[in-house]
Amino acid sequence: MADLILQRLTKHCGNIDPYDIDDYTAAGGFKALTKALLLMKPQEIIDETKASKLVGRGGAAFPTGAKMQMVHDAPNNIKYVICNADEGEPGTFKDRYLMESDPYQIVESIIIAGYAVKAQKAYIYIRGEYDKAIALIKNAIERTRETGYLGKNILRQRFNFDIEVRTGAGAYICGEEFALIESLEGKSGRPRYKPPYPPIAGLWDCPTLINNVETLANLPYIVLNGGKEFRSVGTDSSSGTKLICLSGNIINKGVFEVPFGITLRDIIYSIGQGIPNDKELKMIQIGGASGSCIPPSMLDIKLDLADMRQHDLSPGSGAIIAFDNTRCVIDIVKSLLRFFAHESCGKCTPCREGNPQLYNIINDFSNGTATVDNYKALDSLTQTMQQAALCGLGQASPMPVVSTLRYFKEEYDMHLSGNCPAGICSLDGGQAK
């Protein structure tokens, strides 16, 4: 267990008063910022980030150093940093944990990112449901400004920078980078067509570095210890640590910082301590609501981008939801699709129409009116959405259907023949209610 859990990003969590800037400073806070501003050129920070092989922790795993380089090299004078704290992926609560337990670290990380890409202003877009995180980050920004780490000529350098908090209003889609940018500009959160990507033309068409909270939180460590040391933990394809969020039918729920490379079995049975109430594990979903659903026979797969990719998996946001053997796969997939049908922004047809249609078909399985032909419809719908949807929401939302059809096909077949093994679906031809 000892080497299963590490404390790089979470080392202050629970050990300092999240309101108190002096607590943070006494624990070594702002050392990385001071080193960055006084001893490093922006390009050196980017070079160390590239050397660290850090990739985005929000789900897409894009190389962070490469993204920073694009923003740094973009010719505009006005550039922005956006910290994406619109953590809406169901089953994900790691960014909330980071913001509520160590908000100053996030503020420091954003300033380092701003210095590295030569931006003047940052926004942190926090989802509206996170009342406590919003209050703590606002407080941290004010205290940091009073101390002189934000504002004009920070540490007497020719570097002016400030951070503004913006809050979401209950739209899951705003976690998508361009939807978030549209929302910041005062519009409905609908993704834009790409390219150009945000590093070239983001907020108000200016070069914009947009990163997830956890991604940015790695920067102080990289600045202080270097990219090479960063890679001392993790695997060849996945360096550093990952925050995972354990929830569902599991004994030890919560956020845990783990090194890349441990197995899913370690996560479920050592860290998560297994399944409660003497039940057995039936399925886990990895990466959030649009993640793959896999059976216990696949628990030897490692939390590792390359190993997971071989199995068509991704760590995604770090959410890992366990389901015990009293749960019905069809019922779970139905609830996920209801969510996506509600959260689709409506801009592109594959997602706007595809998600409700997927829901309708899965609903037919759950009320006993599905036929064998529905398999063909599911196949064609999911492929259309994966290939033709505009953004990650519509491309990824079929994943629970695709993966359960691959690994839990017998449950679909049983529902076709009028039998819900968990006894949850009504199978009454849609008569109930």
Partner: protein, 150 residues
């Protein structure tokens, strides 16, 4: 009052959401009135149609009066497998209303919510901007009577 809120934020297009959120929060019944939207549209120089489209896009905004306390119950998978449907039933029974409705005394509105990030204490709800986890029948009844007393 709406004018004050706008001036405090600054009358620029990008402040539309924070302005609307503040106006709604300052209303006891947590909703946006038609005349508020018209004022915002006029001062910010944004067409009424676009203000309306933003208001109807984000699920936090309401054009109908709601209760003093909005009870947002999470119904995502981690909460469902820990009893979210029972939580919904308990609230409906205790308040005598359905999801989306407001009690006659104007105290409570029941709403579905997306994941509240409270999965380690599922099932969870957000009530009046506060998170409540590990919900069960007893806890729900005591939360409601506590709020009624306030």
């Amino acid at each position: 009052m709406v004018e004050d809120i706008i001036m405090r934020h600054g009358a620029t297009e990008d402040k539309l959401m924070p302005i609307l959120l503040d106006i709604q929060n300052s209303n006891e019944r947590h909703y946006l009135k038609e005349e508020d939207l018209k004022t915002v549209s006029k001062i910010l120089g944004i067409p009424e149609s676009r203000v309306y489209s933003v208001v109807t896009f984000y699920s936090f905004f309401s054009l109908k009066p709601r209760g003093k306390y909005i009870i947002q119950i999470c119904d995502n998978a981690p909460c469902i497998v820990n009893g979210a449907y029972n939580v919904i039933d308990d609230f409906r029974r205790a308040l005598g209303i359905d999801m989306g409705q407001t009690t006659n005394d104007g105290m409570f509105t029941l709403e579905h919510s997306s994941c509240l990030g409270c999965c380690s204490h599922a099932p969870a709800a957000r009530i009046g901007g506060e998170l409540y986890g590990d919900l069960n029948t007893d806890r729900i009844n005591s939360i409601l009577s506590e709020l009624r007393r306030q």
